[in-house]
């Protein structure tokens, strides 16, 4: 696999606040990589460092396997915190400045304006935009020149439910094209709905990391077992309400679709002539940890 971003032992201090603590992780090509953590956990600080906006105290990072440079940043489209544009210039003029910096032809501007549905307002000054429109323009700016990597920092912050749904859909559509996405959010639900991988931060430290399905699985995880485990596995595979099956020693660990219960699974297996010797619902430990972490900080 191709590593897009590699972060090693990154540290950043603001006076006494240790905003990022010895943070390391890798983002592989095609990942939709979530950075999940409550407010103040160091998400924006981390993204600012890898975009060369702020200087780290120690540690290193590399983009596309190379020492970071302005050339690597030209292959990245990013939104940091709030939409940033020249307020007294129009949407188009602002995008032209960005296209100039990235060395991209102006005809791509039409495309990205259509993508975020701002084409009608392209000649309005940025300062006349509503917050939702500003956020969409920021996304348009990030999309200019079809970057290999997109970075979104709290992209749905401050939007109404319709705006949130639209932006999430946009992210999912972009991800479907195989573009690598790094998404920072304090919303568990947002990361679950959009990301393939996640790193959870608390007070600048990595708590845990992995695939979203493993780390933040919200659907029930069920342990089952019977006298013939291989036959059991074959039978369970035929059940269309199963999302994931893993074999652990003499157990099968099964995930079911939302709304499906252990009763349904058992019923299905009984109809197939299989009697279970073991059936329990696993504690959703990581999710609970995360929720605990969030409430603790609120």
């Amino acid at each position: 696999m191709e590593t897009v971003l590699s972060i090693k032992n990154l540290n950043k201090k603001y006076g006494k606040i240790h905003a990022v603590k010895n943070l390391s992780f890798n983002v592989e090509k095609g990942n939709v990589f979530g950075i999940l953590g409550p407010n103040g956990s160091g998400k924006t600080t981390t993204l600012s460092i890898i975009l060369d906006v702020i200087n780290a105290k120690s540690g290193s990072y590399s983009w596309f396997g190379q020492y970071p440079s302005k050339e690597s940043r030209k292959k990245i489209g990013a939104i940091l915190e709030h939409p940033i544009f020249y307020p007294y210039l129009t949407a188009v003029k602002n995008l032209e400045i960005i296209a100039d910096i990235k060395g991209i032809k102006y005809n791509d501007i039409e495309r990205v304006l259509h993508t975020v549905e701002l084409h009608d307002r392209r000649n309005s000054k940025f300062k006349t935009f509503s917050y939702g429109m500003k956020q969409r323009l920021a996304i348009a700016a990030a999309l200019i020149g079809k970057p290999e990597v997109l970075i979104f920092d709290e992209p749905t912050n401050g939007l109404d439910p319709k705006g949130i749904a639209e932006i999430r859909e946009l992210i999912i559509n972009i991800a479907a094209k195989g573009i690598t996405i790094i998404l920072a959010s304090h919303l568990l639900d947002e990361v679950q709905k959009t990301c393939s991988h996640v790193t959870v931060l608390k007070k600048g430290e990595k708590l845990f990391a992995g695939k979203v399905n493993d780390v933040l699985n919200i659907s029930d995880t069920i342990e089952i077992s019977s006298n013939n485990i291989d036959m059991l596995k074959l039978a369970v595979k035929e059940y269309d309400k199963v999302t994931d099956i893993k074999k652990e020693l003499d157990l099968l660990v099964v995930n079911l679709k939302e709304g499906t219960t252990t009763f349904d699974l058992n019923n299905f297996l009984v109809n197939k002539g299989i009697i279970l010797s073991h059936l329990t619902v696993r504690k959703k430990s990581l999710e609970q940890q995360f929720l605990g972490l969030l409430t603790e900080n609120e």
């Binding site: 940091l80 940033i84 910096i101």
Partner: protein, 253 residues
């Protein structure tokens, strides 16, 4: 702002001959003032006179400085410097883009002075020989260097302070402080004070009028731009650029 600057400059440059005419009428001794006018706008002295007026410390040069300060501090208050870096400039590119802008502003301002000089000279000068027209034109180059260095000074202040209003205050306070320092410090140091060094490139012109009035008074008036003055000024320009770069490089944006 630039339009305001141009208008003000044009108004001054083209207003002065009119003003002199007006005073001449009122004073009842028009001939005396006609002589004055002919002297002030005489080639080649006009180059020194006009650049001197346009580059006076507390005068319209400041408007250019204000433009530069607004441009650079806006980058910090709108955070657009951040997005420039994120999108693929490095900090040196960013600084050079601003210096490029300063060069353009300086060229623009120098060009206006140059064209005004030509116009006023041809309209009012008694001598129009080639050698006189080009005579003290080196002052135009001196003007360019002086304004360029002054604007770099404003850029450095803006980068250092980031806030528009506070930068203005600091600039104006420094305008007051430097003359005080000038007065207090040893004469061997004072020529090296930045604003004084800049202003020293074009000194109070020795118009022939003053010369007439101070016949017995043997004072050395400036006849040409001195290389040493230009050297000190360019040294400051380099220092301002270097400091701006170091600050930008070290800072979290």
């Amino acid at each position: 702002m630039i339009i305001f600057y141009t208008t003000l400059l044009a108004f001054m440059i083209f207003g002065i001959p009119g003003l002199i005419d007006y005073i001449a009428e009122k004073s009842g001794q028009p001939s005396k003032f006609r002589i004055f006018k002919a002297i002030v706008f005489n080639f080649p002295d006009i180059w020194q006179n006009i650049t001197f007026v346009a580059s006076t410390r507390y005068f319209i040069k400041v408007i250019l400085g204000i433009i530069v300060i607004i441009i650079i501090t806006n980058e910090f208050s709108f955070l657009t410097i951040r997005s420039n870096i994120i999108n693929g400039l490095n900090r040196r590119d960013f600084l050079f883009a601003k210096i490029e802008l300063i060069v353009l502003l300086t060229i623009f301002s120098t060009l206006i002075i140059f064209l005004s000089g030509l116009y006023l000279g041809f309209a009012h000068s008694t001598s129009k020989t080639i050698s006189d027209v080009f005579g003290k034109m080196i002052f135009i180059l001196g003007y360019f260097i002086e304004v360029f260095t002054f604007l770099l000074f404003c850029l450095l202040l803006g980068i250092l302070i980031k806030k528009t209003g506070i930068t203005f205050i600091v600039l104006f306070v420094y305008f007051i402080i430097e003359p005080i320092l000038d007065y207090k410090l040893n004469d061997s140091i004072t020529p090296y004070l930045p604003l004084k060094a800049m202003n020293h490139i074009i000194q109070t012109p020795n118009t022939s009028l003053i010369k007439i009035k101070s016949d017995g008074f043997n004072f050395d008036f400036q006849e040409a731009v001195s290389i040493a003055d230009v050297g000190i000024c360019l040294g400051y320009a380099a220092l301002f650029i270097f400091l701006s770069y170091v600050i930008l490089k070290k800072r979290d944006l």
